[in-house]
Amino acid sequence: MGRISIWVSLAVLLLALPWASSGYVVFLACLCGVNIVATLGLNITTGYTGLLSLSHAGFVAVGAYTTALLSNHWGVPILVCILLSGVMASLVGGIFGLPSFRLKGIYLAVATLAAQYTIIFALRQGGPITGGDSGLVVSIPQIGGLALDTNQKFYFVVLAVTVLAIWISRNLFFTRIGRAFIAIRERDFTAEVFGINLMRYKALAFMIGAFYAGVAGSLLAGFMRVVTPEQFSLTESVFYLAAVVVGGAGSIAGSIIGAVFMTLIPEFIAFALESTQEAFGFRAIAILGSVREIVFGGMIVAFLVFEPRGLSEVARRIWARLKRTKSSSSDNAHSKHT
């Protein structure tokens, strides 16, 4: 009963958010949703299958630009755009995932850099199709004639897609495909001996991860309403990788926690810095802004050293302790009664 009430409360909170909070909070919620979907995808490729990828932002870009082109030129409704953007990114991911058949670890990571740079280069040189460096302004997303022209309206699309993405990811690892991914990560030669076709499943891992990235890119295009190559730099690929590491590689909850953490921590730091502006002027923001980078980097290193299983493991231990405390207090109450 306790668990159900938690889920119901969470659902009510998420559904009521646009009415109960400011445009800024809704904007952050949408950004968290986009980053959760993208991080889930990268966790499938990297966390569960062990294929290190530095090209995730490139696949997000493919999804974003696909949505921009479909909606601008043909007025395709946003839900169809989301699906097609995922498919497009998946195909691109499958092509750039080919080096994973031969390469592993850091060598694979370097090979995926080629994907990152190639995609962004193509977008910059795409002339009138991609808008080049200027990018594209995305037309207002539509669902059945309803224009989703504010963050508050688009939030519900982001929420629905994020929940669906989480549900699919969770169930994926109860299937043969999901178990094959885990087996490849643990010991790929042994997995091959047991009949898992490495080539097929590695390609699938890249394609599924890229599909999620494409969906995230589509959502990003819909709610930012502008796509430029600069939004999808290597720094963003590292951001998603950091979210996987901080949240917990190989964990769905880790993807969610890591994405939310990486999205919100800079905002919390900025919020804290604001209080210094009145006393010290903008200079405090500039100086402490640099400190922010140090704090952020330090946190990631701290996680790698002290809790390599990420925030999801921390959350799991806290939850286990709470349950133990609750059950021991109910045992005490029961024994007093008897």
Binding site: S134, D149, G289
Partner: protein
């Protein structure tokens, strides 16, 4: 004949009317004295931090000047400054955070990505007057960016000024040989195609078109290509503090005699002074007056006084980023004054109309001539040459030029 019976009901009605009128006018009065809040989003960290800090100082001292002089029509000016880290999502989040705290009447950003990211929703929903440190060519499209105003001529305007100057001043019978060196960013590429076309139209020969990284330490490949192309003039576009100084230094070491030129963001005197003799004769476009010392104009003399008060080491030359933010702020201030005087509400649309309707505006010395706003920008600039013999005084070598009259 009309007569008013003095009854309790009438008395209550009169008292009620007076009370209502008092409350309404108090509310209106209170509202009219409500501070004006601006959101300023700048790159205070990251590759543009150098200019971001100077721009932030400009806005800070502008607010100090305005509030010392009674605010904008009696309303205090409050500025919320945020660091964008030159990231689009961060800059959009900053503006939304500012909007959640106060009614924002003007927003300024760090560059073109910010303008493009904020404009779709702003044009439709929030309708806030905007400006930025971007002089990108397509921002002058009033249909796409009806609420954004460029604080000077755009990059294409600026390079056209330089090319026209080359055409006029080049000596010799052979056509002038021109090189373009620019960064691999939108900032760098923006005016290049149009500029090359204009150069050919003027009969100039484009001998080198070289794209580089936005920041770089080793520029020898670029200078080697320059040595092969032997340009008479080399124009830089799309850099902050990196690449162009290194190219100048290395080119002079290699013995190249090319005349180096730059647009607004490659005209910083501080960098030129550090380059020393290698930068002697460096030429470029600035929309703003370079020197504040001895100025009798209202704004320029205020800038001089503030700079000397806040910086004992001030040398009389306010930096380009500083002047850019002052002028963006001046545009917003002037628009608000006009709108308030007309009794209209402060909305982006009213402010934008006020700016477009400005005729022969005296900018208090920021521009040396009265200006008009054409195509969402002020297409006025001047060409300056840095003279090592005069302690790198930027000497004007042209009159004030208006492009696309």
């Amino acid at each position: 004949m009309f007569s008013l019976k003095f009854s309790k009901r009438n008395l209550l009605g009169i008292v009620g009317a007076i009370t209502l009128a008092t409350i309404t006018s108090s509310a209106a009065l209170a509202q009219s004295k409500e501070p004006l809040t601006w959101s300023v989003n700048l790159s205070l960290t990251g590759p543009l931090a150098y200019s971001g800090e100077l721009q932030a100082k400009g806005f800070e001292e502008f607010a100090e000047w305005v509030n010392q002089n009674g605010g904008i029509r009696g309303r205090k000016l409050t500025i919320i400054t945020d660091d964008t880290q030159y990231k689009v999502a961060v800059s959009v989040a900053n503006l939304k955070r500012a909007q959640s705290k106060a009614t924002i009447s003007f927003a300024s950003g760090d560059g073109t990505p910010w303008v493009r990211a904020v404009s779709p929703e702003n044009n439709q929903t929030h309708k806030i007057l905007m400006s930025s440190g971007s002089f990108a060519s397509d921002l002058v499209d009033a249909a796409k960016y009806p609420l954004h105003f460029v604080p000077g001529p755009n990059y294409t305007d600026q390079i056209i000024m330089l090319l026209e100057h080359i055409k006029k001043s080049h000596k010799g019978s052979a056509p002038a040989r021109v090189a373009f060196i620019y960064s691999s960013t939108e900032f760098g590429r923006d005016p290049i195609q149009a500029s090359k076309a204009h150069a050919r139209q003027l009969g100039l020969e484009v001998v080198l078109d070289e794209e580089t990284a936005f920041t770089a330490v080793d520029v020898s490949p670029v200078v080697v290509k320059m040595r092969g192309a032997q340009p008479d003039y080399t124009i830089f576009q799309g850099y902050a503090t990196s690449v162009w100084p290194e190219v100048i230094r290395l080119a002079r070491e290699y013995g190249l005699k090319s005349q180096f030129m730059g647009t607004i963001w490659a005209m910083d005197r501080g960098i030129i002074v550090k380059l020393g003799k290698a930068a002697d004769g460096y030429t470029g476009v600035s929309p703003y007056t370079f020197k504040s010392t001895g100025s009798k104009d209202e704004v320029l003399s205020a800038i001089d006084a503030l700079r000397r008060k806040n910086d004992p080491a001030y040398d009389g030359y306010p930096t380009i980023p500083y002047m850019q933010s002052w002028f963006s702020a001046l545009m917003a201030k002037r628009a608000m004054e006009i709108t308030i005087d007309a009794g209209k509400p402060i909305t982006g649309e009213n402010l934008a109309k006020a700016l477009r309707d400005l005729k022969d505006w005296n900018t208090g010395g920021v521009f040396g001539v009265p200006v008009n706003i054409i195509g969402n920008r002020v297409p006025v600039g001047r060409i300056y040459k840095y003279d090592a013999g005069k302690n790198f005084e930027p000497v004007p070598i042209s009159d004030w030029i208006t492009v696309n009259k």
